[in-house]
């Protein structure tokens, strides 16, 4: 299976995305059988809230189609680095799409680019880098954690990227990136990026290139920027990217009556408790919302003007409500340019 080549029908070996609801999305490998904990080969079955999905049932299905399960249905989608990012097995903290997107643009990566990444981590950024460098480019990714290197390599191979990737086990702060004057761009996600910066410069082409360092703490950023400036890098910029997601829905708020004779309309059950509960449905993120109920909801949200005009006591409007809990911080991204002909010291 390849993330990078499009196809219509699902085959054995493909990685597919199973979409159950906005917060229930999984990546599956289409394998008819798996080993159980006793090492015995058994049928590969994936449990969902709508019942079991036999993985073999996916074979021959179209990407984008609906799969009917005993108690509902799910969708099977084409894998992309973005969907992989929200479904991948976490071996470390990972980068998410807003940061990943910014990294690729800022590092000016395109087909044919040669890119170094340290460390590989869970491979979230790696997939987007592999897509960006294309079949004519190369990603050299390394990690100091031996097990992660092997797992990542297997994953990249399964996902069809073996032509454009090398994965190596090394401590870049000590051993460098293993690349000399070849790279267009270097990405560092390390506890002490400043120790790796001189090596990063060495790996960059003589005509120059771009460097990015991702760090969660501001102290790391300060030290990184200081080292970058000392090494002669240019255009040193630190920024932070946060995505704010909205829930789009129709909201109904009561209009309280202004005329005194309307006061009798206030029934005793129109109390704050029911009001608060109603509101909970509105404002809270509908985490448990699933594909099936989503579809039925569409019918509900058609504005019922007749009802509104009859009672004249509520107002209905479209609203985009931001999640009460949103990402507050992922990390700081620091970018810099290695100018052409920069003196390399290490």
């Amino acid at each position: 299976m390849s993330f990078s080549r499009c196809k219509r029908l699902i085959e054995i070996g493909d990685t597919v995305i199973l979409y159950i609801s906005v917060t229930n999305i999984y990546a599956l490998e289409v394998k008819p059988t798996v080993l159980n904990r006793h090492g015995k080969e058994i049928e590969n079955v994936f449990q969902t809230r709508y019942g079991c999905l036999k993985i073999t049932d996916l074979i021959g299905k179209e990407f984008g189609s609906k799969i009917t399960l005993p108690k509902g249905w799910v969708h099977v989608l084409y894998p992309t680095p973005e969907l992989w990012t929200i479904t991948l097995p976490h071996r470390t903290q990972i980068l998410y799409t807003p940061d990943i997107a910014m990294v690729i643009t800022q590092l000016e990566i395109g087909p044919g680019s040669i890119v170094c990444e340290a460390g590989t981590g869970s491979g979230s950024l790696s997939h987007a880098l592999l897509r960006a460098v294309g079949p004519t480019g190369k990603l050299h990714t390394c990690d100091f954690h031996k097990e992660r290197v092997q797992v990542a390599l297997d994953e990249f191979t399964r996902h069809g990227f073996s032509d454009r990737v090398t994965v190596s086990h090394r401590d870049v702060c000590v051993d460098g990136l293993g690349i000399d004057g070849e790279a267009d761009a270097v990405f560092l996600d390390l506890p002490k990026p400043w120790e790796a910066l001189p090596h990063a410069v060495i790996s960059i082409k003589a005509e120059g290139g771009r460097i990015c360092s991702f760090s969660p703490c501001i102290e790391q950023v300060c030290r990184t920027c200081e080292t970058m400036a000392a090494l002669g890098m240019k255009e040193i910029t630190t920024l932070e990217c946060l995505a704010r997601e909205f829930h789009v829905k129709y909201i109904t708020v009561p209009i309280i009556p202004d005329s005194s004779d309307a006061a009798e309309e206030l029934k005793p059950d129109y109390n704050t408790e029911t009001q608060a509960k109603k509101m909970k449905l509105d404002i809270k993120t509908s985490d448990s919302e699933d594909t099936n109920s989503e579809d039925t909801k569409v019918k509900e949200i058609v504005p019922s003007t007749s009802k509104a005009s009859r009672k004249c006591s509520e107002s209905k409007f479209m609203s985009a409500i931001s999640n009460l809990k949103m990402p507050g911080h992922t990390g700081y991204l620091t970018f810099a340019t290695v100018p052409p002909g920069l003196k390399r010291t290490c």
Partner: protein
């Protein structure tokens, strides 16, 4: 702040804090209180040990039965150190396959019930974590802090304040206060120029009385505050928790929105600037409203919101629901008279805070605001305020502004400083402006 007495005494409300958790309760000797989320986070304490202590004191929880603790005042709080030792350089050899903890969940659970202190529990858990010693010092500290918080046995008892109540409500459930986050609340108060000696009107609904409570606090015992409510009775949960004195509460009078509309028809409220009287009835002020303002009869319905909180106090046998005792400074009929009189003479600030559609409410109350003065409207939604904006543009208003706040908390630790990983995405919206005179 006026020194109202700085000791924790019976019949006063206090805020109990344990780590990030906050909960209010009314002090009664001999009573046990259950705190925390249902499940293993729940604990029951007897706070007799705090009576007579100074507000803000910290206490050590001492186990007297399975889940029941007594508390003992701490002279000096101890920082949580001593567990973090030399760690691995980084996490390259760390293999987190879920099997690194040698203790089973059952064993950990037994450990916690065994009477060990939080610190001892954490120590035991970390000793049994095969990966702990291989974690970096950074990860170790993170781990210990996480565990320690969970098993921390220190509580602090605070005097209720608007800061603590606002934080408590938002943590318990932002919907209790219609997402009115502390930054939005603070701006409401400033932008409406709330101060001691002033005359103000507030319409509040679905915010647990927090806005009126905060206004009362900013007014001390001087000035007038008319609380216009919707429904059968005003929400006054936060007002009751603030331990206000009678003289502080005398500033406050209630009137229902329905009554206000009636009164207006009766011309009692028209202050010359607005439409003239057309009807003549003035009597029967208290006949249409069910609510009885009587200090002997607690208004039970109003506590419903509070009972919805995460704590299920009925679950614990030895924990009784504290009876609320409210201070009512005057009868309902008198409240209506006082409110009408204040509104008739005009107010110097107007606040509307609710999830209800704000247009008719704001336009109506705006007539009582003196020209040149400020009003502020809070809503958890932006769209009704946009509608209100256009409505007010065509009325006599100036300097109209719609805004939203970002509130970001930081973790500040040596070499580990960064914004908190999660933040609140919704603190509500404010529309504010200034009333100007009609053309003459």
């Amino acid at each position: 702040m006026p020194s109202k007495g700085c000791r924790i005494l019976e019949d006063l409300n206090v805020i109990v804090q344990r780590g990030d958790y906050l909960k209010s309760c009314r002090v009664k000797a001999g009573r046990n209180y259950t705190f925390g989320k249902k499940g293993e986070g729940q604990f029951t304490i007897n706070i007799d040990g705090a009576i007579g202590c100074v507000y803000g004191s910290s206490f050590k929880m001492e186990r007297v039965a399975n889940r029941l603790f007594h508390i003992k005042v701490l002279e000096n709080n101890v920082a949580s150190s001593g567990i973090v030792t030399a760690g691995g350089e980084d996490n390259r050899n760390l293999c987190d396959d879920g099997s690194s903890q040698k203790l089973t969940p059952e064993e950990i659970s037994r450990l916690k019930s065994s009477g060990l202190t939080g610190k001892e529990v954490v120590q035991t858990i970390t000793e049994n974590s095969m990966t702990f010693k291989e974690k970096t010092v950074y990860s170790q500290e993170k781990y210990v802090n996480k565990k320690q918080k969970k098993y921390d046995e220190i509580i602090t008892i605070h005097r209720p304040s608007i800061r603590l109540l606002s934080t408590m409500y938002y943590l318990q459930d932002p919907l209790k206060i219609s997402n009115l986050r502390i930054d939005s609340l603070s701006q409401l108060l400033c932008l409406a120029n709330v101060q001691s000696g002033g005359r103000f009107v507030v319409f509040e609904s679905g915010t647990s009385g927090l806005v009126a409570a905060a206004m009362l606090h900013r007014m001390g015992s001087s000035g007038h505050l008319v609380y216009v409510y919707h429904g059968n009775h005003p929400h006054r949960d936060a007002i009751d928790l603030m331990n206000f004195t009678t003289s502080e509460l005398e500033v406050l009078s209630f009137i229902s929105y329905t009554k206000l509309c009636e009164q207006e028809g009766h011309s009692m409220l028209t202050n010359g600037m607005e439409r003239p009287s057309t009807t003549d009835e003035t009597g029967a002020l208290s006949s249409t409203n069910e609510m009885v303002f009587d200090s002997e009869q607690p208004v039970e319905e109003d506590t419903s919101l509070n009972e919805n909180s995460e704590v299920n106090e009925k679950e614990s046998a030895d924990c009784q629901k504290p009876t609320k005792s409210r201070i009512f400074v005057r009868k309902q009929a008198d409240d209506v008279l006082v409110s009408s009189s204040i509104l008739r003479d005009g107010v110097e600030g107007l606040i509307v805070a609710c999830r209800l559609h704000p247009v008719n409410i704001t336009v109506r109350l705006l007539q009582f605001l003196k020209p040149g003065h400020s009003f502020v409207v809070f809503s958890p939604y932006k769209e009704p305020l946009m509608e209100l904006y256009f409505e007010l543009k065509s009325l006599n208003c100036t300097n109209l502004r719609l805004s939203e706040n970002w509130l970001r908390h930081y973790q500040v630790l040596p070499q580990r400083t960064h914004p908190e990983v999660n933040m609140s995405g919704g603190g509500g919206y404010l529309l504010y402006g200034i009333k100007i005179s009609k053309e003459t």
